[in-house]
């Protein structure tokens, strides 16, 4: 680490030097699969993730279904127990923290769920839903809980008068706002947002994306934003991690991922998105086949079965997440060439790549 820091040229691009708020190393989740009493092996849903989230930073986790992004989000807020690896939040290891030890941390670490219909108790009023985190943590805000709840409702663009209404009286977008108000109740530092806008209509989706952006800026929140929609992620996240079959295949700043993708999968994913700006079929990269089952992922590079660049080495050696300069890292044996940086060795290596390089 020191060596890397020392190699940084003086006055290197001002990367926020702050300690990461969330530090994830080797995070793994395997689900056993059984038929009857016989074990049929493991679903390797998440297999060794390394990433950091700094205070106030937004990290997007993108990938197709089954890539493990939701499992990752659920492990981060400890709704699922990791199989291996570590999660450090604000300097404390919370990987296996017990309920009691977690409770104070929960205040800083909240989640917004995908389905605005299933994540709100239909028998509780909105006031009660939003007040619940305060009550559970025995917090008595100045002016009383009701006042705080009404402030929160106003903050997310709902009418504070609707305090006594029930979830069914609200539309999908409004319900998602209720979920956001609940997540904000404890003034968290990090919010894990699991597909927060994918269940909403486009016009409503834009409203909620804008709301989240405003909140993120005003309250200096860090986000782990899980989504399959790369266009939404581009509008919300500063950094993006692309996942495939339980692994991060590429991570980097927004501009790197969207303008200079180096992993073939990232390229294919970007080219597959139908864009309104291009009429008629665009020159997309056609990926053949489906994502393989995580029950029996391909050897070596997991993307090789659908990759047009795959060679023999891809089947035998698993590519490590290797830094390519400028904070971008790619796990590929044949990454897309980048413009050679004039400074020589890549600067701004972030610690997670150090871990990625380890065998």
């Amino acid at each position: 680490m020191n060596a890397v820091d020392a190699s940084l040229p003086a006055g290197a691009p001002a990367r926020p030097a702050a300690e990461p708020l969330l530090r994830v190393r080797g995070l793994t989740k395997h689900f056993p699969v059984r038929t009857g009493f016989r074990s049929r092996g493991l679903v390797r849903a998440v297999d060794g993730l390394d990433f950091d989230v700094r205070p106030g930073e937004t990290l997007g986790l993108v990938g197709e279904s089954g890539c493990g992004k939701t499992t990752t989000g659920r492990m981060l807020v400890r709704l699922l127990e990791p199989t291996a690896g570590s999660i450090e939040f604000a300097g404390r290891d919370i990987t296996h923290a017990r309920r009691g030890a977690l409770r104070p941390l929960r205040q800083d670490l909240q989640i917004i769920f995908q389905d605005p219909y299933a994540s709100l108790n239909p028998r509780h009023t909105v006031g009660r839903i939003v007040a619940m985190p305060l009550q559970v943590n025995h917090i008595d805000p100045p002016g009383g809980i009701k006042k705080r709840v009404q402030e929160l409702l106003e903050l997310v663009g709902l009418n504070p008068e609707h305090y006594n209404r029930y979830p069914h009286e609200f539309s999908g977008g409004q319900r998602q706002r209720i979920g956001i108000a609940r997540a904000l109740a404890l003034r968290p530092k990090l919010i894990v947002a699991d597909e927060p806008v994918s269940a909403l209509d486009v016009s409503i989706q834009a409203q909620v994306v804008n709301l989240l952006r405003d909140l993120q800026r005003d309250l200096d929140l860090a986000f782990v934003f899980i989504a399959h929609d790369l266009a939404v992620v581009r509008h919300f996240c500063q950094r993006v991690a692309v996942m495939y079959l339980g692994k991060i295949v590429e991570i980097g700043d927004r501009a790197d991922i969207y303008e200079r993708p180096q992993h073939p999968y990232t390229k294919a994913l970007l080219s597959a998105i139908p864009d309104v700006t291009t009429l008629a079929p665009a020159g997309r990269i056609r990926l053949t086949g489906d994502v393989p089952t995580p029950l029996d992922p391909p050897s070596g590079c997991r993307f090789r079965t659908r990759c047009w660049k795959a060679q023999d080495i891809c089947a035998t050696d698993e590519p490590a997440l290797t830094p390519r300069g400028g904070g971008q890292a790619t796990a590929c044996h044949f990454p897309e060439p980048v413009n050679p940086s004039p400074e020589g060795p890549p600067a701004g290596t972030s610690p997670e790549m150090e871990a990625g390089r380890a065998p």
Binding site: D201, N210, R234, P274, D275, V276, D290, V291
Partner: protein
């Protein structure tokens, strides 16, 4: 020197499907839901019509009305649905059943709930074939189903024939659905959000497949979706629906490149894009889609429209008609005077968001 081997145009000329003033309403305990309120459009063979709208805009109800899948005891349908010259409105269930699957068929959004979990996939496709080909034996139907599975790009179709829906992945199931919809070579295919449940890389495969099959079978396709990107890629014509009514209709270039209705402007500027300034705020449409029981008077969009007040109270009292604007075939239902609409589009809209 004319080549006489060119196949004669099928049946008569003119659009294969012509929907005129279609109205669909349901009686519910809360009141009458006017799900579709006077929608007209045409689709010719070999062409794709994209119907765009948010949930509750009436796009799925329209497609179910064409398929005759509404419960006649609860639904009131008026207007005309002319399929190759026959009016489907008021057709008996028996008559409809003879057409469904053979002349028109549907690809549903969720293949897992549209395929029967108890029967092998191939058998379901073969059954769809035998219903409309009474002379076909078991073996012939099987051969036909295997052939279709192969054509939609399912590897080892002979083996896949005997597998159950749960043994297929999401993309494979959607391919099987498409095979089933096309097994009788229908002239009209309605695809209701065919790729919404799929991942983008698989969506790209399915959209390519639909385009390939269309050029092969020359069918008319109605593609219902909320995704403007999908429409931009595959549709020839676009119909934008709001609150059960058509608000804009035209070719894909007219509607997506030179949109004239404020709702279409709003849709286009609220879609996040892969190009342009990522830090710019999206421009959402304020408010929520209307309730179909209590549609706002006048133009249904006026409570959410930025330009509604520009001509007195007309927007809130009078329902705008779908009228042709500058270009031929481009229809817009808006009270804004044409010159003003053009000016707003030029000065305020064209530079924003993806409408660029």
């Amino acid at each position: 020197m004319t080549d006489t081997a060119v196949p004669a145009p099928r049946r008569e000329t003119g659009p294969y499907l012509r929907v005129e003033e279609l109205r669909v309403s349901f009686d519910t305990a809360d009141g009458v839901v006017r799900a579709v309120d006077g929608v007209s459009f045409t689709v010719a063979q070999g062409r794709t019509l994209g119907i765009v709208g948010e949930s509750g805009s009436g796009k799925s109800v329209t497609s179910l009305a064409i398929m005759g899948l509404h419960d006649p005891r609860r639904t009131r349908i008026s207007g005309r649905i002319l399929l190759g010259g026959r009016d489907l409105v008021g057709l008996s269930e028996e008559g409809m059943r003879r057409l469904r699957g053979r002349d028109l068929s549907m690809i549903f959004q969720d293949p897992l709930s549209a395929l029967h979990p108890y029967y092998p996939v191939g058998r379901q496709i073969a059954e769809a074939y035998r219903v409309h080909s009474p002379g076909a034996g078991r073996r012939e139907a099987r051969a036909r189903a295997v052939d279709m599975l192969g054509r939609v790009g399912i590897p080892q179709p002979g083996r896949r024939f005997d597998q159950y829906p749960h043994e297929f992945s999401g993309g494979m199931r959607q391919r099987a659905m498409i095979a089933m919809a096309l097994v009788n070579d229908p002239d009209l295919v309605i695809a209701d959000e065919p790729t919404t449940a799929l991942d983008v890389t698989v969506q790209a495969q399915i959209l390519d497949l639909l385009a390939d099959l269309q050029s092969e079978f020359h069918s008319a396709i109605i593609l219902i979706t909320h995704d403007l990107g999908v429409v931009a890629q595959v549709a020839d014509d676009v119909l934008v629906m709001y609150g059960g009514r058509a608000v804009e209709r035209g070719s894909v270039a007219q509607v997506l490149r030179r949109p004239q209705h404020p709702y279409t402007w709003g849709l286009l500027s609220s879609v996040p894009s892969l190009h342009g300034d990522a830090d710019a705020d999206l421009l959402p449409i304020p408010g929520n889609p209307p309730s179909l029981i209590n549609l706002p008077p006048g133009c249904a969009f006026h409570p959410r429209c930025r330009y509604a007040g520009r001509n007195g109270t007309r927007s809130s009292t009078e329902v705008p008609e779908l009228r042709q604007v500058v270009e031929r075939g481009h229809l817009v239902a808006c009270h804004l005077p044409e010159a003003e609409r053009q000016r707003i589009h030029q000065t305020e809209i064209a530079g924003q968001g993806v409408a660029r």
